[in-house]
Symmetry: C3
Subunit: 338 residues, 3 copies
């Protein structure tokens, strides 16, 4: 089959604009699965060929047959698991870009931790054993927390016990709170070229924590402000060049390890290491995201890094489409789909 | 008349570089009205065809005749009202891009509030009634506050009363201080295409508030630091894609409402909604700016968003020039000038 | 000699990617001097023609002869003095871009202060005289502090005396701590065109200080967090346009003064003024860097400012290569090398 026999599609949310613009730039036809609320907005853009409207994303299964019939290749992003659940993703019959095995390894915090540790990645201490004293401050994270919801910070035991009561979930982990700056590194690993590329980086913009520093000590007196970490945007960053080698090596180790333990070709395509960097310039990886992340939305026209690899604007969305295009040309599409 | 019969001009300040570069990219001749201090700096750029020097911006009326004779289309920006006053803007005889009726609706805080409320926009609570108890923390804003000057924050009544004494203005409003992150959304509405475009977004860089978070609790002890909100720069941001539909709808409602209540074609061209986003992902609009804002200066070569609409670099300044060019071609210039 | 007779080279660190990509874009052959650890990473980029591997950067002198034989023009960056020391830089026999006289004026804090003061630049108060009472808060900086290491903040005398004991260096200065926002302005001065260009701007991303604001007052209680200023990245910024004239004038005065006091053609090529801006919109220059700075790494494809001068992507790295190329064409290379 040829490129013109395929359509690139995704859910109208998260990073759909980037994915569909990138697909169009690579010569694909595009389809956007939208809700009635968002359709008028998405219709203002010139690179979306078709719209399929569903009442809510949860009703995605009802259009699967139509998508399969159109020969759509679906590009999953953060909204896929959030809205459809991991089982619905794994059971999908449409051509799905990526390795579905990875979903479990990402979702289960113990498996994810095991993966990162096996890859030799530095991760925050976790307080699993109830007999081991917790060292404060800590951050508690519920299972399946996404978009910065389902986290809380505690500075000591009293604080922790007060907050855990209100937390309303039994599945959570307690990690040391690393004091350092956040950096999210966006990678792309191609099983066709066997190369890892550093596509871009970002810092999340979180409400309310990213506003608290603007209220001085005196101004905070008498106010009880609970910090929350809800992600509403992203801003750009570059990393000190002397630390790029380590950023590259971490990604390489994560990919190599995934090929051994995740099964079914391991992790490939776009992924993100979410790091905290301490004053001794040490990375702590607090999470891995195994697909395109929203921070890449900053780089529609390429990033400080992607221009080093490509003499043309290369977003992560476009990189995915380029990969699929090359796989079609080389008859290797089965390397990329699940 | 043809494009070559017009010159695009502005005051050498605020967003003049972007406006004049954009005009040149669209094929216009350009003129910059400068003061002697800034002329050598502006002369280092290759896209400004003519300079008119005046001792200070307040003396702008002295060159109006010359500008009218040259058939200059003036693009107003934030310095126009700040330096010339709203009356001088309204009385201007030169071709003026935009609807001058909007000036009053923007400047008068009650009218602006009325406009936004009629459009169904979520705005912070305002404490107008002296018999209604103020809920702290609050932010007080003088009428005509600009560039972040003329604001103060108060955490309780004592704090408020101490600060209001020193404030030196009788025209001010008291609003709840929303704890959340700031996001400034830059739009463009074209009465020619009838479309709203999300051009770009930014976060302001304010001194001293954006430095306070770097001094820890211990380090702030014994220092009395009064937070100030003076804008000295801007940095880039993208919004979570799932919130773009609401960002788009807010703009649509603001434009629709303006056509009903502002008169004379309503608001068109570039404008900005200044928002605060709370942890429940709710927008509060704290202000509307009805012209090009300084945050667009980040995007000389296009933004993450403008690349979605245009397959060429499109700043807001260039978008204005493109609009004027198309209006000239379609003989619709009277839709755009006042 | 012609362009093809030269190779542009640098150490694989700091801003090497930008320098070598820029050189390649201008048509030069490129060489990267790397360590075994970083070589695999640098080999993933397509614009580096040759690699020379040394066990550590300190062994650079061992390859000098080879570089001279190849007719390499070396572009120094922040790692040159950090890893090789100023004497090794001054004694280098390879073609060296820039004026080595500047090294002493930059490294010696008294000379640097003298230079800036002579240029009429506003700098923070320094407490030199032991009989003069220190006004707190202060920042103490060791001689040769780089990358944000070797600094501490003190809010009062007790705090200062406690920290100075642990500081472990005798050569340091004590400056007033200016409360305001940081802005790093990247310039380029060409002795060929005699023009100053504002290439770009950034804000540093420092650990841990840029994470502290995310912990509210209540959350910091009971924690003793020592602020540190270790630079691990950079994010982009634009300056209020009304302040650009002053930014331009400061650079002009710094260059003019350098031609009088530094000797040997003064400062030329890329440099950076590191500023703090206070709420009255006043610049304080806290440091000058006399070569390409890491903040320019954000702008591989040009910045909001460089697009105003050039209708093509112009990073600082590429600007250097363009300068050398033009000097070769005009037979003026001796204006640029030392």
């Amino acid at each position: 089959m040829k490129q013109k026999d395929f359509i690139i599609g995704t859910l109208g949310s998260h990073s759909a604009l980037q994915i569909l613009k990138g697909a169009k730039d690579e010569g694909f036809r595009t389809v956007n699965i939208v809700t009635p609320e968002s359709e008028p907005f998405y219709r203002t853009f010139p690179f979306i060929d078709e719209f399929i409207s569903i009442p809510s994303f949860a009703e995605f299964p009802s259009v699967e047959k139509e998508l399969a019939a159109k020969n759509v290749i679906l590009i999953p992003h953060g909204s896929f698991v959030a809205y459809l659940g991991s089982e619905n993703n794994k059971n999908m019959k449409v051509k799905y870009y990526g390795n579905k095995n990875v979903i479990d390894w990402e979702e289960n915090r113990d498996k994810q931790r095991n993966w990162l540790q096996t890859a030799g990645i530095n991760i925050p201490r976790q307080f699993d054993n109830k007999h081991e004293p917790i060292q404060y401050p800590i951050i508690a994270k519920s299972y399946g927390a996404a978009g910065g919801k389902g986290y809380f910070y505690a500075r000591n035991k009293t604080d922790f016990e007060r907050k855990i009561k209100r937390f309303g979930t039994k599945q959570f982990i307690v990690q040391e709170y690393i004091i350092g700056v956040n950096l999210y590194i966006h990678y792309f690993y191609s099983p066709i070229t066997k190369k890892i590329e550093i596509m871009s980086m970002d810092k999340r913009y979180e409400t309310n924590v990213d506003s608290l520093g603007r209220i001085p000590l005196e101004g905070q007196k008498g106010l009880t402000i609970e910090p929350s970490f809800v992600v509403v945007g992203n801003s750009d960053l570059v990393l000190r060049e002397g630390m790029l080698t380590e950023a590259y090596n971490m990604a390489k180790n994560v990919i190599d390890t995934s090929q051994k333990i995740v099964g079914n070709r391991g992790l490939f395509g776009p992924f993100c290491l979410e790091t905290i960097i301490t004053p001794d310039r040490k990375f702590f990886v607090i999470e891995i995201s195994c697909r395109i992340v929203a921070g890449t939305n900053l780089f529609t026209h390429g990033s400080a890094y992607s221009w080093y690899y490509y003499n043309e604007p290369m977003s992560t969305g476009r990189r995915i489409a380029r990969e699929i295009k090359q796989a079609i040309e080389q008859d290797k599409l089965d390397l990329l789909l699940d």
